[in-house]
C-alpha cells in the first residue's frame, strides 16, 4: 500500500463520519471575526443551538477596524455598519463564552497573525475561519481552510465541517534563495508558474530546501498565498523551526503535555512512498524579486522585467483580458516595470505584517536614511503591524523610530488597506506598492491600482517613488 501524504494523515485523523459523498471532519480551531459571523450567530440563535466548543473558538476584530485611535474602542469606528458588526461580535462572544481580543487589546490583530502568535495554531490540526487566507496556518502543518458564513454556523454548532476530500499536489522549491529574495517572491513566482487555477481542487504541500530554510514568518507568507493559486489549502510539514516557534506561547502545551504534543506532531509528514496527483518543481536560484503588473496574482514579473504585450498571448480571450488589465493599471506594453511610479505604499496584511516583515522594511528604510534618503515626497507610505504584540515588539526593537524617521506612517493593527473595508483606501487611479495578497480591480479601493511585492521591495519603492529592485539598496 502506498504511503500517506501529510494531507492524508491530517484528514484521516479528523474524519468523524461519512455521509454520502461527504466526510464530517472534526475542527480543532475555529477563528472568527466581525464580518463573516453575525448571520451565523443569528442562525444559531434562531435554531436554538449553542456553540459546541467555545474553548476551540477564538474571536478577534480586524477586518473593518480603523488603524488609528483604537484605544477608544468602537467609538473610534465612524462607519455605523462597521460599528454595529463589532458590537454584535462583542455581544455574541459574551453570549457564547468565546475568548475575544477586542480592538485596543494588545493581543488583537489580524486573525491569521493572532492565531499562531498565541500558540493556538499547532501542527496536525484542522483550522477554519471565515476568511479565504486561512491557508496561512498551513505553515504549521495544519489543514487550514477559509469557509463561508453558512459553514461558520455549521462549525459553531457541530465543531465539524462537511467536505469531500481534495487532491494531493506538491510544489518543491530546490536550492537557496538569493540575497534580498523572500518568501513573498517565492510565493508570487509559484503562482506565476502554476496560474491562479493551478491548484484547483487540491491541497498543496510545499517542500524542498528553500522551503525548509524559511522562517515561520516566511512559511506563513508562502501558505497565505496558496489560495491565490486556486488551492483549497497549503501545507508545510512541521519541523524544529515550527516547534521552536510554538514553544512558550500562551496556548502552547507545557511540561509533560509539551513532550506528548511534540511526539504527536512529529508524526505529521509525508511518507517517502506517498503519491501526489500533481508535482511542480522550481529552482530557488531562478527566483528574482517579483512584482505583479496586472489585476490577478498570476500576473507576475521579475523586477527586471517589462510589462507584457497583449499580442504575445496565445488566445483572443487572454489578449483581451491583458489589454483590459493594462488599461486598468495605467501601464503600457513593453515598459520596464520599474517605470511605474507609486503614490501609496502599504506594508501590512496577513501576508506580510509580522515582525520579520517589519524588520525587512525597516532595514531598507535605515539603509536609505543613512544615505540621507527618505520616503519620496509624493508617496504616502503606511506600515500596519499585524497585531498589537507585533507592534509592541517592533517598538521595543526601535523599528518604528527608524520607519518614522524615514517618513513612514506607523499605524495600529488590522486588515487595513488589504481590502479597504476600513477608512484606509486607495483613491481612483492611485498606484500602490502593497505587501498584501490580492491585486483585483478595486480591492484596495475603487479604481486603485495594486502591485504586490515583498515588504523590502515595498519599502524600497516608497523611497525611490517607483517600483525598484531592492537589491540596489542593500
Amino acid at each position: 500500500m502506498a504511503g500517506k501524504t501529510l494531507y492524508d494523515k491530517i484528514w484521516d485523523a479528523h474524519a468523524v463520519a461519512q455521509d454520502g459523498g461527504e466526510t464530517v471532519l472534526y475542527i480543532d480551531l475555529h477563528l472568527i471575526h466581525e464580518v463573516t459571523t453575525p448571520q451565523a450567530f443569528a442562525g444559531l440563535r434562531a435554531a436554538g443551538r449553542k456553540v459546541r466548543r467555545p474553548d476551540r473558538t477564538l474571536a478577534v476584530a480586524d477586518h473593518n477596524t480603523p488603524t488609528i485611535g483604537q484605544a477608544l474602542g468602537v467609538d473610534a469606528v465612524e462607519d455605523p455598519e462597521a460599528r454595529l458588526q463589532l458590537q454584535t461580535l462583542g455581544r455574541n462572544v459574551i453570549d457564547h463564552g468565546i475568548e475575544y481580543f477586542p480592538m485596543g487589546d494588545i493581543r488583537n490583530g489580524i486573525v491569521h497573525v493572532v492565531g499562531p502568535e498565541q500558540g493556538r495554531t499547532q501542527p496536525g490540526m484542522t483550522v477554519v475561519c471565515g476568511d479565504s487566507h486561512t491557508s496561512t496556518h498551513g505553515a504549521f502543518g495544519a489543514l487550514a481552510q477559509g469557509i463561508c458564513t453558512s459553514e461558520v454556523e455549521h462549525v459553531l454548532a457541530t465543531q465539524t465541517l462537511r467536505q469531500a476530500k481534495s487532491k494531493n499536489m506538491r510544489v518543491t522549491v530546490d536550492g537557496q534563495l538569493g540575497p534580498g529574495i523572500t518568501a513573498k517572491d517565492m510565493a508570487l513566482a509559484i503562482i506565476g508558474t502554476i496560474g491562479t487555477a493551478g491548484g484547483t481542487g487540491s491541497v498543496i504541500e510545499f517542500a524542498g530546501e528553500a522551503v525548509r530554510n524559511l522562517s515561520m514568518e516566511g512559511r506563513m507568507t508562502l501558505c497565505n498565498l496558496t489560495i491565490e493559486g486556486g488551492a483549497r489549502a497549503g501545507l508545510i510539514a512541521p519541523d524544529e523551526t515550527t516547534f521552536a516557534y510554538i514553544v512558550g506561547r500562551p496556548a502552547a502545551p507545557k511540561g509533560a503535555a509539551w513532550d506528548m504534543a511534540l511526539s504527536y506532531w512529529k508524526t505529521f509528514f509525508t511518507d517517502d512512498d506517498a503519491h501526489f496527483d500533481r508535482e511542480v518543481r522550481l529552482r530557488a536560484e531562478d527566483i528574482e524579486p517579483t512584482v505583479t503588473w496586472g489585476t490577478s496574482p498570476e500576473d507576475t514579473l521579475p523586477v527586471s522585467g517589462h510589462v507584457p504585450d497583449p499580442a504575445s498571448f496565445a488566445t483572443p480571450d487572454k489578449r483581451a483580458s491583458v489589454e483590459r488589465a493594462l488599461d486598468y493599471m495605467g501601464l503600457t506594453a513593453g515598459q520596464p516595470i520599474t517605470d511605474a511610479k507609486v503614490d501609496v505604499v502599504f506594508i501590512g496584511s496577513c501576508t506580510n505584517s509580522r515582525i520579520e516583515d517589519l524588520r525587512a522594511a525597516a532595514a531598507v528604510a535605515q539603509a536609505a536614511f543613512l544615505e540621507g534618503r527618505l520616503v519620496a515626497p509624493h508617496v504616502r507610505a503606511m506600515v500596519v503591524p499585524g497585531s498589537g504584540l507585533v507592534r509592541e515588539q517592533a517598538e521595543e526593537e526601535g523599528l518604528d523610530a527608524i520607519l518614522k524617521a524615514a517618513g513612514f506612517e506607523w499605524r495600529e493593527p488590522g486588515c487595513s488597506m488589504c481590502l479597504g473595508m476600513n477608512p484606509d483606501k486607495l483613491a481612483p487611479g492611485q498606484r500602490c506598492a502593497s505587501t498584501s495578497n490580492r491585486n483585483f480591480e478595486g480591492r484596495q479601493g475603487r479604481g486603485g491600482r495594486t502591485h504586490l511585492m515583498s515588504p523590502a521591495m515595498a519599502a524600497a519603492a516608497a523611497i525611490a517613488g517607483h517600483i525598484v529592485d531592492v537589491r540596489t539598496f542593500l
Binding site: Y26, P38, D55, T158
Partner: protein
Amino acid sequence: MKAFTRLDGRAAPLQLANVDTDQIIPAQFLKTVEREGLSKGLFFALRFDDQGGVRPEFVLNKPEFKGASILIAGDNFGCGSSREHAPWALMDFGIDCVISTSFADIFKNNCLNNGLLPVILKPEEVEALMDEAKGGNHVFTVDLESQTVTAPSGAKFHFDIDPDRKHKLMKGLDAIGETLQHAGDIDVYESKRALSTPWMEA
C-alpha cells in the same frame, strides 16, 4: 432549521409575475448583522412609497391579510441574485410557504435550505387559489405529508416535491441538522481525542 409539516393560515395573493430578489429585499438591507429584522425590507418598494409612506393598495398592507403565512405569487417568483436574504426576509415576515407556477432555481434552493416551502402548482390551480384568497377571512391548509394544498372551499390540489427534500423539511434538517444526526459519532470522537491529545482540551 424549523421543521415544516402542516401549515394552516391566511394566504395573500400577490398578482405579479417575475418578482425578483431585489424586489423581495433590496440591496440596502443586506448590510445587516441579523437574519431577524429583515422583514422591514421585505417588498420595500411595493410596501412603501418614496417618502416612506405605506402604500395601502399593496396586498400585504391590507388589514385583511395581516398575519398571512402563505403567499400566492405570479410566475417565476424569486428570480435575480442568489441572496439568501430573500427567504430570510419572507420568513421573518411570517411567510412560511410560497405558492407559484414556477420559481427561480437558486431561490427555490435557498427556500428549501431555510425551511420555507415553495409549492409549484398548475396555472389554473394557482389562479383558483388566488380567487379564493380574496377577502381575508379564510384558512388555507398546506400539508407536506400528503403534498396537498386545501383551499377554504375544500378544493384540494396535489403538488410534487423531491422525496429527499421532503424528508429534510419534515424533519427540519439543514446541513447542520444532518450533521447533528452524527452527534453520537462526534461525542465518541471527542472523548477519544481527550485521551490522545489532552493538551487540546481546555
